[in-house]
């Protein structure tokens, strides 16, 4: 039985929290744990969207910018006096459109994913500044900040929303037949084509979903912080990719689960929170997260490699290549 990456990272997460608790027991308080969860929501949502792209063996480095653009649209229309539902609708539509533009460039115009999304990364960030003239969007109406204060069983509303989204994604990925196409296309694109799977439509959907999830994240973090900066969600594209890798979503496509991706994202943010609890200066955050990512991925890689090696050697020794006996 192989230890799944989800379990490995979950175990590491628990170990990390317990180790921190040795130094600072406050971390185990219900309030602290909820706070860690609450801080991870943005990354969890963006990571889930990115997961679809990586499953198909693609990459999207524009998701942070898509989230920023969606947040900008959200803040702008709110300040124009739109109602909250309409404004959220506009933000989600923006994310969907941003993802669809990537999808069009990649699946129809055949621009390599990294180049297409590097381009739109610049374009979406640029659009944010064009829309606002470069200034932050402040003085947002109370309606957008309110949901962040709602609680159910002592847990913030958005934690429940994200959990619901995660469970829905996990259920779809596990049960809904066409969701298997993401895996098949990433695992063996030529084989998927030969079996008549809609390869390009699947890839198109993946990038569009990445945009939609980014917009969802935008709604969450705008509500949480109450203003939109021009640097909103900057750097989240790389964090989302790292979280996916950490959670066992293979960059070579076809492997990974929504739960793994979410645990990866949770782990990435938990590292930051734990360093705060340990009193480590914030300047260490990024370096620490990078080291942990490399350690986990390297250990996992070595494990897989030694298994593969043993299998190949068994094959060479067990079976002469010819079997000429006729």
């Amino acid at each position: 039985m192989r230890v799944s990456r989800e379990l490995l990272v979950t175990g590491l997460l628990v170990a990390l929290i317990l180790l921190t608790a040795l130094a600072n027991p406050h971390v185990l308080q219900f309030k602290s744990l909820v706070e860690i969860l609450n801080a991870s929501l943005t990354l969890v949502l963006i990571t889930l969207g990115e997961m679809f792209v990586i499953l198909t063996r693609g990459i999207d480095v524009s998701v942070g910018a898509s989230a920023g653009l969606a947040a900008t649209v959200l803040g702008t229309v709110l300040n124009l006096g739109w109602g909250l539902p309409a404004a959220i609708g506009a933000a989600l539509a923006t994310g969907l459109a941003a993802g669809a533009v990537n999808a069009f460039g990649i699946t129809v115009l055949r621009v390599p994913p990294i180049i297409m999304t590097l381009g739109t990364l610049g374009i979406y960030r640029g659009l944010m500044r064009i829309i606002t003239g470069g200034s932050w969007i402040e003085n947002l109406p109370q309606s957008i900040k309110a949901p962040n204060l709602w609680h159910f069983l002592g847990v913030p509303f958005f934690v429940w929303v994200t959990l619901a989204v995660l469970l829905l994604t996990a259920w779809v990925a596990l049960r809904y037949r066409p969701a298997r196409y993401f895996y098949a296309v990433g695992d063996n694109e030529a084989g998927a084509y030969l079996l008549g799977l809609p390869v390009r439509a699947t890839q198109f959907l993946a990038y569009t979903l990445a945009g939609l999830f980014a917009a969802l994240a935008a709604v969450v973090f705008t509500s949480q912080i109450g203003f939109v900066s021009m640097n909103a969600a900057e750097g989240y594209e790389l964090k989302a990719i790292a979280a996916n890798v950490l959670g066992g979503v293979s960059l070579t496509g076809g492997v990974g689960t929504p739960l793994g991706a979410a645990v990866g994202a949770l782990f990435m943010t938990a590292v930051h929170s734990m360093l705060i609890f340990l009193g480590v200066p914030g300047v260490w955050d990024n370096a620490f997260a990078g080291v942990i990512l490399l350690l986990v991925v390297f250990a996992d890689f070595r494990l897989r490699r030694s298994l593969e090696l043993r299998r190949r050697q068994a094959r060479i020794q067990g079976e002469p290549a010819g079997g000429e006996a006729r």
């Binding site: 998927a192 030969l194 008549g196 290549a321 010819g322 079997g323």
Partner: protein
């Protein structure tokens, strides 16, 4: 005439001006196993890809149960009931076997299970359906492909060299299954290089040569030698070239290989002396390239002993081999041998940069080396700085050869040195091989073009299914004998 399941008439296919199929007729009856044979490049794969919808014919017609059809894609062919079991099965390694089987089918779990049960039982496909497909053996992966075809109600199954990666027992099992499928009325096209197994399973045999059908008859009326004769080119007897002026052979071997094994070949021994050309003949997939790669250390899993110039090299890589005087010129020059966008000179001197200066390159010495090889190999270029990618195929190959020879090796392994190059460049390469031999260099020549091996080699090792099955020397080397051995027929005693 019995009802025809599949019928092709006067099929033509042209690739970039070169006709590959020249009016081929082919048909298949229900319940028949029809073998399709031919040497490398005879057009049999192209024909099968047309039937399976991967290529479209340029002229001709195709009928399925009398109805004209023209599948536009593999998927369209599958919808018509034609399924090709590819040589390399297309599995999704990280999905379960069940998911692999269900992929692309609009069947719910229950109808799928109902359809699958009897199929799996009938085929003796004993495997855990929830297991990841990465753990299936090649034979099981092939069964998976067969089941995929049957799930799509295939009436025509095409097997493209299905046994090339199977053991003897696995192959026997596959034949049983093919016979069982045929009994159920499915028509089977069977492509193979192995005459023995073709004689064993096929009802009818068609031989293609150079894009034409040269033989078509019931298997029981044919012998393996009939098949070999049909596959040989018309000019088989031509033997014009100058007799190889007695090469300066002798002395200590420059390359010795003992008991080298890997996944693709088994227990290979060879010895190369200075001043000789050792040909390695065999069909595509017989393990020739893999052997060469293992010799220079490109396969870390190979086991066995390799000595270059008498020095054992247990842990090898191409750079180490080169340092001991052995260079390998790979088959796929674009992927492994040449810098397409850089000046041609950069490829030619890539192997000797340390000799051209310690920190800074001595441009004059570098250009002198380049000019020497341009002259020696008759390379046609506008200047040493012309990007290699803009040269013709033949001249690219010469640039790659210059790179290998600039290191002044004692032994050279040439893998398919004349693939895809024109006749005059081919002459230049042959001339080069002869001049190397005169200088006392040992040359291992790997080629699918048996004529080339016959023309150049002093000794020929024949590989078949991953084994060296025979050695021919001097006067014993003939096109017919090399061909027979390549197809796995026993070598007759030298007469």
């Amino acid at each position: 005439m019995a009802e025809r399941l599949l019928e092709l008439r006067q099929v033509w296919k042209v690739f970039s001006g070169v006709p590959v199929l020249k009016g081929v007729d082919f048909d298949l009856a229900p319940g028949e196993i029809h073998a399709l044979l031919g040497g490398n490049g005879s057009g049999k794969s192209t024909l099968m890809k047309i039937i399976a919808g991967a290529y479209r014919m340029d002229a001709g017609e195709m009928r399925l149960l009398g109805r004209p059809v023209r599948p536009e894609s593999p998927h369209a062919a599958q919808a018509l009931g034609i399924y090709m079991v590819p040589q390399e099965p297309h599995v999704f390694p990280h999905l379960s076997v069940r998911e692999n089987l269900a992929m692309g089918l609009a069947l719910g779990p229950r109808p799928l299970a109902e359809k699958l049960g009897p199929l799996l039982e009938g085929l003796g496909f004993e495997v855990d359906l929830e297991e990841e497909a990465a753990f299936l053996s090649i034979a099981q992966q092939q069964l998976l492909e067969i089941v995929r075809g049957l799930l799509r109600d295939a009436r025509v199954l095409i097997f493209d060299e299905p046994t090339s990666a199977l053991t003897f027992r696995e192959a026997e099992h596959l034949f049983d299954q093919m016979r069982a499928l045929a009994r159920r009325g499915i028509g089977i096209v069977f492509i193979s290089h192995r005459l023995g197994e073709v004689m064993e399973v096929a009802d009818r045999i068609t031989v293609l040569r150079d894009g034409r059908v040269v033989l078509e008859d019931a298997a029981r009326r044919l012998s393996p030698h009939d098949l070999v004769r049909a596959m040989l080119p018309d000019t088989a007897a031509s033997d014009e070239e100058e007799p190889a002026a007695a090469p300066r052979r002798g002395g200590a071997p420059v390359l010795e290989v003992r008991g080298l094994s890997s996944e693709a070949f088994h227990d290979a021994d060879l010895t190369l002396y200075p001043g000789e050309v050792l040909g390695i003949a065999g069909l595509v997939g017989s393990g020739r390239t893999e052997l060469a790669e293992a010799i220079v250390g490109l396969d870390p899993h190979a086991t066995g002993e390799v000595r270059v110039g008498g020095v054992p090299l247990p842990r090898r890589n191409p750079a180490l081999c080169q340092a001991h005087g052995l260079v390998y010129v790979p088959e796929d020059r674009h992927a492994h041998g040449i810098f397409l966008d850089l000046p041609s000179l950069h490829t030619m001197t890539a192997g000797i940069l340390p000799r051209l200066g310690r920190w800074l390159l001595d441009r004059r010495r570098e250009e002198a080396v380049g000019r020497r090889f341009v002259e020696l190999l008759n390379i046609k270029l506008t200047g040493l700085d012309q990007p290699a990618g803009t040269l013709s195929g033949g001249n690219q190959q010469k640039v790659v050869l210059a790179k290998a020879l600039s290191t002044q090796p004692r032994a050279v392994i040439l893998d398919e040195p004349t693939r895809g190059i024109d006749a005059s460049a081919r002459r230049d390469v042959y001339r080069l091989v002869r001049s190397l031999v005169r200088q006392g260099v040992g040359v291992v020549l790997i080629s699918s073009e048996l004529e080339e091996v016959v023309e150049l080699a002093d000794r020929v090792l024949v590989m078949h299914k991953g084994r060296i099955v025979g050695e021919l020397r001097g006067p014993e080397i003939s096109l017919e004998r090399v061909t027979e051995a390549s197809f796995g027929l026993p070598l007759k005693e030298a007469s």
